[in-house]
């Protein structure tokens, strides 16, 4: 990802000398960043349409219901935005380390640990004022998730363990810890069929944005994405991170503390995913159980890649992917497609987006005449 950005920069610098730079020459690279992912998305939708056609369903019905279920009504918009909230946060869990050239795919694990810590904090503080409990939940979720991904970062920094694999292994370990506690020490004896912790209490839920059914988690996500954008592109810290991501040797030569960068970024990344877990508990589930492992962490990876690891671009992409998952229920009811069809579409989109990386800088008409 970073090499693409670097090449784009070099190219822009190379074609900029004359005063009469054309529109395409000036904005060609930016247009590419929108046009190519959009083309990949359309290609993926077309292939998914073919796939569904082979399954004996009309692709046009499919597209209509997808649109209708995602963005067709105010109700579906609210459903979409509710799902986009955790996706923004889990996508940041992949996108922030990506600035350092690290591929972290363990957002799901940080989400689960964040949810567990937030629930534990809320249960320990029963009786305190709701706002105090909520702040404690945020802090616990952020620290729990943050430390979980910091573990991957530290293993990479101090032991040379590949962070992609370690973060994914930590997902399964996190899930095991969650199941262990939910069925053991933290179990609510009243939860028979679905082992769960006790409820955090209705008063401690974070509620919805006035006038909507969308919970405040969306605002958390938006703030986190914008803050990450500012951190990465408009602070010295972010600049240092991008330098280290581009060329780690150069970063060491100019004296950047790479270890500190890795640990800080990983903590922030995990904190975002942990916050997503806290929100799922405090705004949706009200307790911790295995339902939390709903795959937001994995879809977040796709969101991050589709947004080309740009924190601001993550917002619209998360809404789009939230919409796709929101339409899943309608596809199931109206077209009789299995619930996994959303996963198939996500996989196809992912494949197309990665393949489309090959197109950057190769679209003739965007280069203009030179």
């Amino acid at each position: 990802m970073t090499t693409d950005a670097a090449e784009g920069g070099v190219e822009a610098a190379g074609v900029a000398p004359a005063a009469d730079v054309g529109f395409l020459q000036r904005y060609g690279a930016s247009i590419e960043y929108i046009l190519i992912p959009a083309a990949a998305l359309i290609g993926a939708l077309a292939v998914f349409g073919l796939f569904v056609a082979m399954y004996g369903k009309n692709p046009l019905d499919l597209y209509f219901y997808m649109y209708y279920g995602a963005f067709g009504t105010w109700f579906s918009w609210q459903n979409t935005l509710t799902r986009a909230a955790p996706l923004i946060l889990t996508a940041l869990c992949t996108a922030l380390p990506a600035q350092l050239g690290m591929v972290i795919i363990g957002g799901e694990g940080a989400l689960l640990i964040g949810a567990l810590s937030a629930t534990a904090a809320a249960l320990a503080m029963q009786g305190a004022a709701p706002i105090v409990v909520q702040i404690a939940m945020v802090i616990a979720g952020v620290i729990g998730g943050g430390l979980w991904i910091t573990l991957s970062g530290a293993l990479r920094q101090y032991r040379g363990v590949n962070e992609t694999i370690s973060s994914l292994l930590l997902v399964y370990i996190g899930l095991a810890i969650l199941n262990h506690l939910v069925e053991g020490a933290m179990r609510d004896p009243a939860s028979l069929n679905k082992p769960s912790t006790r409820e955090i209490g209705a008063a401690n839920m974070i509620g919805t944005i006035p006038g909507t059914d969308v919970h405040w988690g969306l605002v958390f996500g938006l703030v986190a994405a914008i803050a990450s954008y500012i951190l990465i592109y408009h602070t010295t810290f972010g600049f240092a991170a991008r330098v280290a991501g581009g060329n780690i040797r150069a970063a060491k030569i100019v004296g950047l503390g790479v270890g500190k960068l890795i640990l800080t970024i990983c903590f922030l990344a995990g904190a975002c995913a942990g916050l997503a877990g806290m929100i799922e508990v405090a705004a949706v589930q009200g307790r911790t159980n295995a339902n939390l492992a709903a795959g937001y962490g994995f879809t977040g990876i796709l969101v991050a890649f589709l947004a080309r690891q740009n924190p601001l671009a993550i917002i619209p992409v998360a809404i789009l992917l939230g919409g796709i998952s929101a339409s899943g229920g309608l596809l199931q009811r109206r077209l009789g497609l299995p619930d996994a069809s959303v996963l198939v579409l996500q996989g196809i989109i992912f494949v197309f987006v990665l393949a489309s990386d090959a197109l950057y800088g190769r679209i003739g008409f965007l280069k203009g005449k030179s």
């Binding site: 591929v103 590949n162 053991g184 890649f305 996994a340």
Partner: protein, 308 residues
């Protein structure tokens, strides 16, 4: 408590039997990944391949009535997914790790989608060979009911070791993995070598998946594989890309994974989930011990992106 005549011996026996039973998918995936990684590319998508293999094996076995056709179908499915991985990776500027993650999600999604109607029916299973005929103790007999696929996997490991070392194909794969320039200078297409290596790797991983659905646990459901594919990929790294070490590591892993169910069978139920996470914890622990930030791992193919 279990059979009083052997008492707590049940646990090591079940771990031993489990090591053989549970290790088979680890073994196939790690051997397949070993071939792919030796050619200089990493395929993290084998988790998806494993699940797709399990689904297609179960489906074909159910439809045709022959589990062996199912195994073949699983292998072919795996090879096709491998070809997809290699095809996308051969495009310029495409990152093999990211493609692997994409195929992991795609493979599991597709398997859940196509496998929906297969949760109900029962497909013919793979037969097992009874090596425990000499014993009267049911636990011993259960532990020694060994599947043919396991024996095939055990045979492939030394074969692969030998092939890497002495055959022309082994040399080509290793050359592509150590220096793509050298392979190109010899007049070979690196992309083609890696395509073939990834397809063979996918074929083996698919067969590993067929074992899951057709022998142990022996049914198709969406929770069939949880991270076995990715664990096996990690296993290759600390097996130092050596097929024989892959075999031993797989057995160790199978034993670790069998610990939870074995303890449960003698009445130890607390910490069941934690024991189930044993293979992942073990993987992480071994990676922490064996990796080092100072040097690249000995035996690592130089072209491999993940170890640099």
């Amino acid at each position: 408590m279990a059979d009083p005549s052997i008492g707590l011996w049940t646990v090591p026996l079940a771990v031993f039997g489990g090591a053989i039973r549970v290790s088979t998918p680890f073994l196939f995936v790690s051997l397949g990944e070993c071939i792919t990684e030796r050619s200089g590319r990493i395929n993290l998508g084998l988790e998806g391949t494993l699940v797709m293999g399990a689904m297609s094996a179960y489906g074909i076995s159910y439809l045709s009535g022959s589990p062996w056709l199912g195994v073949l179908a699983a292998g072919i499915t795996g090879a096709l997914l491998g070809a997809l991985h290699a095809g996308i990776c051969s495009l310029p500027r495409v990152n093999d790790v990211a493609v692997g993650i994409a195929l992991m999600l795609f493979g599991t999604g597709l398997a859940f989608f196509l496998g929906k109607p297969l949760i109900e029916p029962t497909a013919p299973r793979l037969p097992a060979i009874d090596f425990g005929w000499w014993s009267d103790i049911p636990q011993v007999r259960a532990a020694l009911r060994i599947n043919v696929l396991f024996l095939i996997g055990v045979a492939i490991a030394p074969l692969l070791f030998w092939a890497f070392k002495t055959t022309r194909w082994g040399l080509l794969i290793r050359t592509a993995g150590e220096s793509s320039d050298a392979a190109r200078a010899m007049g070979h297409s690196v992309l083609l070598i890696r395509l073939r290596a990834t397809m063979v790797g996918g074929f083996l991983a698919g067969i590993g998946g067929s074992f899951l659905s057709l022998f142990y646990p022996g049914s198709w459901n969406e929770g069939l594989s949880s991270g076995q594919g990715i664990t096996a990929v990690a296993l290759v790294i600390f097996a130092r890309w050596d097929p024989l070490l892959c075999l031993w590591a797989s057995l160790a892993f199978g034993g670790a994974a069998a610990l939870g169910p074995a303890l449960q069978s003698v009445g130890v139920t607390s910490g069941y989930h934690l024991f189930n996470a044993a293979p992942y914890i073990l993987t992480l622990a071994i990676m922490i011990i064996t990796c080092s930030p100072k040097r690249t791992l000995t035996g690592a193919p130089a072209e491999l992106s993940i170890t640099r």
